[in-house]
């Protein structure tokens, strides 16, 4: 910035002008003096030359005429009108002949007129030449005018050369010039001084006063008084300056009012911001570049038990403690590098208890874009954390396997049930692709389905209409049912899959289907087998009528026999069906009974047929206690013995062996015979309802079906082994439920 100096114009301007004028005057006077003296010298020079030459001729003439007195007069007269110091006529030897000082006559030049130089004298005499020269001060003019002297009065000898010597003074002439110049200079100076005084007055009136006025006004403006109207009339620069200052003042007043309103607005905004930040549940703080708090919101007190005035000016480390600050530190480094970051932390509550918080550290930038501090914004996420924990617990406690996968099909969460279902630990599952749990053959299709689900995510069961399978760690496939639900979180989109192991259900379903088929068969057979004797009776009733009309006694008996057999068959069928329908329902109280007792009872029931056929019956094996419905248990052996007796065929030495084999894992009862046996093709069929292999053998075909139902009731299994027709048959069965309860004495 260029620096300017200022002076008081009204004083210094006239003084400077006056000084300048004085110097100019002095220079000018000196120059005029030089000029006038030079001119004087020249004029004097010319005059003296002319007058001296004239004098020479007159003196020479007077000398030739021997008029010596006139010579003296001539010399005396010469001095008139001239400022002559000395005028002398000297002879050729330098002796004064005539002089203005008469006493010098007869004396030599050297004695009387030391101002005359003898050398010049000699030169002028020799060359007969007019010589004029100035003294050192140029105040005197010395003239040498040679002339011819007469040898005797009246005779002038040409070889006698005298000299007219003149000493002319310029002092008075020069003094006069000087005087004149002095008078002129002083008068000029006087005029100048007056002019300057006038100038001073003018400056005072039209410059200094308005300037002072302006200065005072500007001073007032600078003190903030923008109502100082500057009234300077005219069209001069100061008037323009005044107008400019007025405008500037108006602008400043305007700017000030604007800035005032801006400041008011800023304060209002500041109040609003404070209200907002104070109303926020989480604290907000601002730390400057020196690492000191410059702002904290009201929540700070609630969170840390510190009032804002206790915190301002302190460092976060002092306020939060070293432990908490250590967690904050890496994020402060990021903030100083200009990066925003967020972290989660657990903070002790001043009222006791802990609070989970999400802290965002936000760098603050100055107008030049440099980091000048940071903000910390805390959000209370305790509830969210609890919700997450509840969510985690709910997932963990879910009876189904719960698996959460991200958009890249990576497992992000798996509960304990998932581990037990699939054989992997939870750690082994997290971070792995979901394909880990899916059989390889489904991988491609599953990836496509996953993409499709993420694109059109709605909660729905997975794989509609298809059988789904998971894969256990050991490689075996698990039939599953999967429910899918999309989950949109801050971290992106996820899918929660609820996986239910339906192995049991599948088995139950298969069982149910089997039951349904059985039921269908049952209904079918009932309709057929019950209808069949009915058809017989009705038809033969018709024949009977015809035959009775004809009186055909043989046919009448035959008809009645068919009808009686059909009625018996129907009665037996109905009894057995009733029995069948009772199985599964408790019809009598369960009791303890040894298997031998049950067998004995069965043998007693069948004693008639056994004796009739002459069957040898053996019963082997340790006595074992059973617990169950006595009639049912007895019926197992009863039906099996009855069946054995029926199918003894033509066996000449019929035998029935009844016994029990106690193995490590199970106890197996058996009833074997040496009868006709069963073709292996019919081994499954014989346990079906109404299944009869031989129509000639009496029975409804329900006997073995009943046995199977009772065995199943006690969670047992029954099978037949036979080497084929003619080789006898062996029925083996287990009764685990009856044995278990037989030992513990509990009811089934």
């Amino acid at each position: 910035m260029k620096h300017y100096q200022s002076i008081h114009l009204r004083w210094w301007l006239p003084i400077i002008i006056l000084a300048a004028f004085t110097v100019m005057m002095a220079v000018s006077s000196a120059w005029r003096y030089e000029y006038q003296t030079a001119k004087l010298e020249q004029q004097t020079n010319d005059l003296l030359k002319s007058r001296m030459t004239n004098l020479q001729h007159r003196i020479e003439a007077l000398l030739r005429l021997n008029q010596n007195e006139l010579v003296a007069e001539e010399i005396a007269d010469f001095g008139t009108n001239l400022d002559v110091n000395t005028l002398a006529l000297v002879d050729e030897q330098g002796r004064v002949v005539y002089a203005t000082q008469r006493v010098w006559v007869g004396k030599t030049i050297a004695d009387t007129m030391p101002e005359f130089d003898m050398q010049r004298f000699a030169d002028a005499q020799r060359d007969r030449r007019f010589v004029l020269n100035f003294d050192a001060q140029r105040d005197r003019i010395i003239v040498y005018q040679p002339l011819s002297l007469a040898t005797r009065p009246g005779e002038i000898r040409p070889n006698r050369v005298g000299m007219l010597l003149l000493d002319h003074s310029l002092i008075s002439a020069k003094a006069e010039i000087r005087h004149e110049l002095w008078v002129q200079a002083i008068s000029n100076l006087a005029v100048s001084a007056i002019t300057m005084i006038l100038l001073m007055l003018i400056l005072q009136r039209w410059l200094s006063r308005p300037l002072n006025y302006l200065r005072e006004a500007v001073k007032r403006i600078s003190q903030g008084n923008f109502k100082t109207e500057i009234a300077i009339s005219g069209s001069g620069e100061l008037a323009e300056l005044g107008a400019a200052v007025n405008k500037m003042q108006a602008d400043l007043a305007n700017a000030r009012s604007q800035s005032l309103s801006s400041i008011q607005m800023l304060r209002a905004r500041e109040r609003e911001l404070k209200k907002i930040t104070d109303a926020l549940p989480g604290p907000i703080s601002r730390v400057d570049e020196t690492g000191r708090y410059i702002f904290v919101s009201a929540a700070y007190q609630r969170w840390f038990g510190l009032r804002p005035e206790e915190v301002i000016g302190k460092s976060p480390r002092d306020m939060l403690g070293a432990e908490l600050h250590a967690l904050l530190e890496p994020h402060l480094k990021l903030a100083h590098a200009g990066e925003q970051s967020t972290f989660e932390v657990t903070i002790a509550n001043p009222a006791g208890g802990m609070r989970d918080a999400m802290v965002t550290v936000l760098p603050d930038f100055d107008s030049e874009g440099m980091v000048c501090g940071y903000y910390t914004i805390c959000v209370d996420i305790t509830e969210r954390k609890r919700a997450e924990e509840r969510f985690r617990c709910a997932v963990e406690a879910a009876p189904n396997a719960m698996i959460m996968v991200d958009a890249h099909s990576i497992i992000t969460l798996a509960n304990a049930r998932t581990s037990t279902m699939f054989g992997y630990t939870q750690d082994e599952l997290i971070g792995q692709p979901i394909n880990l749990l899916i059989p390889r053959s489904y991988h491609t299709a599953h990836s496509a389905h996953t993409r499709e689900f993420f694109n059109h995510a709605t909660g729905r069961p997975m794989g509609l209409g298809r059988d789904l399978h998971g894969q256990h760690k050991d490689g075996h496939e698990i039939p599953v049912e999967v429910g899918l639900n999309p989950l949109q979180t801050n971290e992106g989109r996820f899918v929660i899959a609820s996986v239910l192991d339906i192995t049991e259900r599948k088995l139950a379903m298969e069982k149910m289907q089997e039951k349904n088929a059985e039921l269908e068969r049952y209904a079918h057979m009932v309709s057929h087998d019950l209808k069949s004797p009915l058809v017989t009776i009705k038809t033969f009733l018709g024949y009977l009528k015809e035959d009775m009309a004809k009186g055909d006694q043989v046919r009448i008996e035959k008809d009645m026999d068919f009808m009686a057999k059909a009625a018996d068959k129907m009665g037996q069928l109905l009894d057995e069906l009733l029995e069948m329908s009772r199985i599964g329902r408790i019809v009598s109280m369960p009791v303890h009974i040894t298997w031998r007792d049950a067998v004995q009872e069965a043998l007693n029931i069948n004693a008639g047929t056994i004796a009739q056929r002459g069957v040898a019956v053996t019963v082997d094996g340790a006595d074992i206690s059973l617990f169950g419905e006595r009639p049912r248990l007895v019926q197992i052996w009863q039906n099996l013995i009855d069946n054995a007796v029926k199918f003894l065929g033509d066996q000449p030495a019929p035998q029935i062996r009844i016994g029990v084999e106690q193995g490590e894992r199970s106890t197996v009862f058996y009833v074997c015979d040496n009868g006709i046996g069963v073709d292996t093709r019919y081994h499954d069929k014989i346990f079906g309802m109404f299944e009869k292999l031989d129509v000639k053998v009496p029975g409804s075909g329900l006997g073995l079906a009943l046995v199977k139902r009772i065995v199943q009731l006690y969670r047992g299994e029954i099978s037949i082994t036979s080497q084929g027709v003619g080789h006898g048959a062996c029925f083996r069965f287990t009764l685990p439920e009856a044995l278990k309860n037989g030992k513990t004495g509990e009811s089934p």
């Binding site: 024949y543 068919f562 009869k692």
Partner: protein, 146 residues
């Protein structure tokens, strides 16, 4: 009308029903030979001339099979399947004659290419009339490839 009597094979486990069929055919205006077997296994033995059915004179190939569904040893539906899958037997008309009016049985019978399915009526008159109609239709009017 065909001069040669046509053999009918009756596959029926209920002797009473077999008697009914036999009596009705005897009374019928068309005289035919009726051969009765009591179970599915026996039926197949007859058709394949196995065991006691080896003699074509006493066990001629039937021109009509009346087949019950509920049969011991081998079920009627299996017998039907065996007949219809055997090229030598498949052209013999098989009329299912049973007490079951179950839809599943009817459907399965036709799936196994049964030629007809009739349910045994309870009335004597109706059963006789049915057997009459069956006799007339299959033995008189119906033509089979020889």
């Amino acid at each position: 009308m065909n001069g040669n009597p046509i053999t009918i094979l009756l596959v029926e486990d209920d002797p009473a029903h077999a008697e009914i069929v036999q009596r009705n055919l005897e009374n019928a205006r068309v005289a035919n030979q009726l051969n009765w077997v009591a179970d599915g296994q026996e039926a197949l033995d007859y058709l394949h001339r196995i065991g006691k059915y080896h003699d074509p004179a006493s066990s001629p190939t039937p021109g009509l099979i009346l087949l019950d569904l509920r049969l011991p040893k081998i079920d009627g539906m299996e017998v039907l399947g065996a007949i219809k899958s055997d090229t030598k037997l498949s052209l013999i008309p098989v009329v299912i004659m049973t007490t079951s009016a179950a839809e599943t049985d009817i459907a399965r019978a036709y799936e196994n290419r049964a030629n007809s399915y009739v349910v045994k009526p309870l009335d004597l008159g109706k059963f006789a009339a049915l057997l009459d109609v069956i006799g007339y239709y299959w033995l008189v009017w119906n033509k089979c490839p020889q």
